[in-house]
Amino acid sequence: MSTPSYEYPFRIGEVIESDTNEFTTQCYELYGAPSLGTLVKAGETEPVYGVVSYSHTSGLDPTRRPIARGEGLASEDLVYDENPQLNRLLTTNFKTTIVGFKFSSQITTYLPPRPPRIHSFVSQCENTEILTFAKSLDFMSSILGANLPQSDDVAAAFIRYACQALPEETELRVESAKRLASLLGNDTRRLEGILRRIPND
């Protein structure tokens, strides 16, 4: 659904809220948030990396709730076609758990000294960057330890996403599963639950 701008095809949005653990991005496009578990980066020269862990869409003005508009219309798309203002009144934001940063052209897989600035550009990552994080998985402990309701799904989603982005890494799925297993060595049930969410494509 997202259509990146022609000049900067990988740019998704801008940071509108930021703290040590996570930053929130407002998407340029309504419903333009990347999939859960996607690796994104905020900043230009020394970006901060994060994994998409939560996204939500709501009205820009918190005092004005959206109302139902589709009665009598044949399809959902027609609702948007007939109400073009919705694309301006609604907005999609997503939260990202910070997993690393780049410093002196070196990617490190732990928290940066400072979170990204507000209005940092947020964009998709290249495969080499995804590979670095997929191989290390050091950040998984902070995702799993965050104890959000969706933590397990985020972990599974990241591995799914990495496997899909890097089909040449044939062992990645099993290697990642083993890394998770050692992180969750004392909780086999939880581990099994996560592994079940990483089907073999």
Binding site: N186, T188, R189, E192
Partner: protein, 539 residues
């Protein structure tokens, strides 16, 4: 094997209990066998150890109760080696220093353990050679360590210095192992052998467990080996002519022999002791002939004369008559067989004494073995004392091989028989024993403790295992190893001729190749092509 494979890292342990090694994800517990050798690369030392236990462990204690869906291969792969992993316990036996100084001293018994996270590797052929020595260093290749092709060698110099034992229950390869050890001693010329061959297996040829004939020492070493027989007919039936047929005169039998035979002759201690009174009365060498020739009345008179219970004396006479029925015991003046055997031994030959049909008669076996060994021992003792420290005049080392050793060395016997004396006094007089037995628990504890090198095949009975392992450090762990030996071609060796206890797969014996490797290269039958020809006919 030249490629070094890492199998895990040290995660815990103690010197007393051995170190615990967590296997890495790629090594399956099924690839590791108890008793196999590993090398641990510590910070300052290399440790050479033995696997004494193998375990399945899990980082999640609830894993065994909440079983994950292991039918899913992905989940199984993820869990194995991570949450569920294999662990082994390694007993560090030897320390091989890394610096030059320790190269000179060789492996030392471990007095410490490797640090946490030391890497554990499979032992390589080089490791085995550096620990056990190689054939080039004068060792005798006895077999290979488990799952390896490396040649594991025994230090024969150490071996012939002390009495040694080969144990194992029937059919586990004691005879094969003994034959190999004898060949080793023969090849090296470190000692002369005298073999009491109860079942005619060592001299000319023997039979393997799978019932094919294998060559005996005479076939392999020709003129270096003399075969003496107690039963020339049996030898002829088996297709060879013994070098000499052994016989004894009445004068060779002593009261000490009667003591030894007390159980097999079913004599009371009073009756057996009466033999000493008889010897005192008639004089040594003459007592047996004089006593056997007596009538019943004369025996009664004699009883009151020498103050012995008359019924005990009558019983003694009846039982001793059994000895006269042996065809190798005669009243005539016979050739001194013991002297002939001694001459051969002194000239560096090896003597196998075959018992033929008498092998099944314990009385005959014990009587002959005792008479001969006593004579030989007396002679050696004299020779050694005459030499008085002059190494050149000393008699050559002699190894006496006895089967069914518990008959001579049981706690009630060992104090009285010459074998007990040899086992205890060991090498003082250059005579040692090679004890072959299937019931080591029946052998006197004191004798067992003097045995230098023990080679043990599979033993079932707990008592036997205990007695073989008594006094060995870490014997609780070795128990597991010993009880799990395969029933053929495997043995646990420990003692003076190996630096640490080790399980070996004994080398091949019976093939043409083995004969050419084992035979006397320079000897009469040493030509390997001849050995092949003997076996398969002319090509």
């Amino acid at each position: 094997m030249t490629e070094v494979s890492k199998i895990g890292v040290v995660v815990a342990g103690s010197l007393g209990e051995g170190v615990k090694v967590r296997l890495n994800g790629t090594t399956s517990v099924e690839d590791i066998k108890v008793g196999s050798n590993v090398v641990i690369q510590g910070q300052e030392n290399r440790f050479f150890g033995v696997v004494t236990d193998i375990a399945l462990e899990s980082s999640d204690p609830s894993l065994q109760f909440n079983l994950p869906d292991v039918s899913d291969r992905f989940i199984r792969d993820a869990l194995s080696g991570t949450s569920a992993y294999g662990a082994i316990t390694v007993e560090p036996m030897l320390t091989i220093g890394i610096d030059q100084y320790s190269d000179a001293t060789g492996p030392m018994p471990s007095k410490t353990i490797p640090t946490h996270f030391s890497e554990v590797l499979e032992a390589t052929e080089d490791d085995i050679n550096s620990v056990f020595g190689s054939e080039a260093d004068g060792g005798f290749w006895i077999g290979s360590p488990l799952d390896m092709e490396a040649k594991l060698c025994l230090d024969l110099d150490e071996m012939v210095k002390r009495s040694n034992g080969v144990f194992g229950k029937s059919g586990t390869g004691k005879t094969f192992l003994t034959r190999l050890l004898l060949i080793g001693i023969l090849q090296s010329g470190k000692a002369s052998n005298l073999i009491f061959d109860m079942h005619n297996e060592y001299g000319w040829k023997g039979t393997s467990e799978s019932n094919y004939d294998v060559k005996g020492l005479k076939q392999l070493f020709g003129s270096k080996v003399s075969v003496f027989s107690m039963d020339s007919e049996s030898a002829q039936r088996r297709g060879f002519i013994p070098d000499h047929v052994v016989s004894f005169g009445y004068s060779d039998i002593t009261p000490e022999d009667i003591q030894l035979l007390r159980e097999t002759l079913d004599l009371t201690s009073v009756a057996a002791d009466a033999a000493y009174s008889l010897e005192a009365h008639f004089g040594p060498k003459r007592w047996f002939r004089a006593f056997i020739g007596m009538s019943g009345e004369a025996t009664n008179e004699l009883a009151s004369e020498i103050n012995v219970n008359s019924s005990a004396l009558a019983a003694l006479r009846r039982r001793l008559e059994r000895l006269t029925r042996f065809d190798f015991v005669s009243n005539d003046n016979v050739e001194d067989s013991a002297e002939m055997i001694l001459q051969r031994l002194n000239s560096g030959q090896h003597v196998v004494l075959e018992f033929g049909k008498h092998g099944n008669n314990p009385t005959a076996y014990m009587l002959v073995a005792n008479i001969l060994t006593r004579r030989i021992y007396d002679r050696y003792q004299r020779q050694k004392e005459l030499a008085m420290g002059d190494k050149l005049a000393e008699p050559p080392n002699l190894v006496i091989t006895i089967e069914e050793a518990h008959r001579f060395l049981s706690s009630s016997m060992s104090g009285q028989t010459i074998f007990g004396t040899i086992a205890r006094e060991m090498r003082k007089y250059n005579v040692t024993l090679l004890v072959v037995d299937q019931r080591p628990s029946d052998i006197d504890e004191e004798v067992m403790s003097q045995i230098g090198t023990k080679v043990s095949c599979l033993l079932d009975s707990g008592r036997d295992v205990d007695s073989v392992l008594s006094g060995v450090s870490g014997n609780r762990k070795l128990r597991g190893v010993l009880a799990r030996l395969e029933s053929r071609q495997q043995a646990l060796i420990f003692g003076h001729s190996v630096p640490m206890p080790v399980v070996v797969r004994t080398r091949d014996y019976g093939s043409a190749k083995s004969y050419s490797e084992l035979g006397d290269v320079g000897g009469v039958n040493g030509d390997s092509s001849k050995a092949l020809e003997d076996l398969f006919g002319p090509s």
